[in-house]
Amino acid sequence: MKKKLLTFMLTLGLWVVFAGRMNIQVMMFGTIICSILSHLLANSVFRFVHLNGGPKQIVIKITYMFFVFSAFLYDVFLSAVKVSRQAFAWNPSFSPRIVKLKTSDENSSDIGIFAHFLTCTQGALALDFDPLHKNYVIHWIDVDSDAEAETRKALIRKQEHLVAKIFHSEG
C-alpha cells in the first residue's frame, strides 16, 4: 500500500508539473490516470530500488550520487567532442572492436545503471549483458591496440566500482 501511495504521489506531482495549471478537471483526470499507473507499476518500480540504510547514509549517498552524476556529465561532453571531431574530420578513422567485460556485480540496478553509464562515456557503447556469465558486451570506437584495450578495461572497472558504491551499504 505504501508503495502504491508513493508511486501515486510521484506520478501526480509529475502530472501537475507538466499540466502547468491547477483546476478541478486537470486534477480529476490526473488522479484517475495516476491511480491506474500506480496500481500497475508500483511493484515493478520498487523492485529495482535497493537503497538501504539510515537517513545519514542516504544523505551521504545522495551527495555521492551528485558527484558521480557530475563526472558523468563531464564525460558525456568529453566523449561528444571526440565523436564530433570524427564526424567533421576529412578522413575519419575508426578502430571498432567488440569486447566482453566480466563483472562481479549481482545487483540488477547496479548493472543497469553502469550499462547506462557506459553508453554515454569514453567512446564505449554497451551492446548487451550476458546474465549467465555476467559479461558486459561493449563496443569501442577508437581502440587501436591490445595494450590500450587493457587500459580502457582497467578504467571501466574503476568506474564500475564508483557506480557500485551507490547501492552498497558501506557508501
Partner: protein, 109 residues
C-alpha cells in the same frame, strides 16, 4: 550604470545554444558519414545527449527560476534516461542478430 547580469545571462545562453547546435549538427553529420550501425549509434548516444543537455540548459538559464524551468529539468532527466536506453535497445537487437561491425577505417560515402 549598465546592468551586467542580463548581458551575462544572454552570453551564457548563446554559448549553450551554440554548443548544443554544434553537437546536434555533428550528430546529423555522424549519422550520415559514419560507416556502420554501431559507430552511428556512438554519434546518436553521445553527441545527441550533449546537444540536448546544452540546448535545455540554455533554455533553463534563459527562463530563470520558475515553473517552466522545472519542466525543462524534468525533460532533461527524461532525456538522460531514455536516450541511452533507446541506443542500447537498437544495439542489443543488432548484436543478437549476430551482425559484426565493419573493421574498416575508410568512409564509404
Amino acid at each position: 550604470m549598465i546592468d551586467f547580469l542580463p548581458i551575462l545571462r544572454q552570453i551564457v545562453v548563446y554559448v549553450f545554444f551554440l554548443t548544443g547546435s554544434y553537437f546536434l549538427l555533428s550528430t546529423a553529420v555522424g549519422m550520415i558519414r559514419f560507416p556502420d550501425l554501431y559507430t552511428r549509434l556512438h554519434a546518436s548516444a553521445k553527441c545527441l545527449m550533449a546537444g540536448g543537455i546544452s540546448i535545455l540548459m540554455g533554455c533553463i538559464v534563459l527562463e530563470g527560476i520558475g515553473f517552466v524551468s522545472l519542466k525543462l529539468i524534468i525533460l532533461l532527466l527524461f532525456l538522460l534516461i531514455t536516450n541511452p536506453i533507446a541506443n542500447h535497445v537498437i544495439a542489443c537487437l543488432d548484436h543478437s542478430n549476430t551482425m559484426t561491425p565493419n573493421p574498416i577505417s575508410k568512409n564509404r560515402s
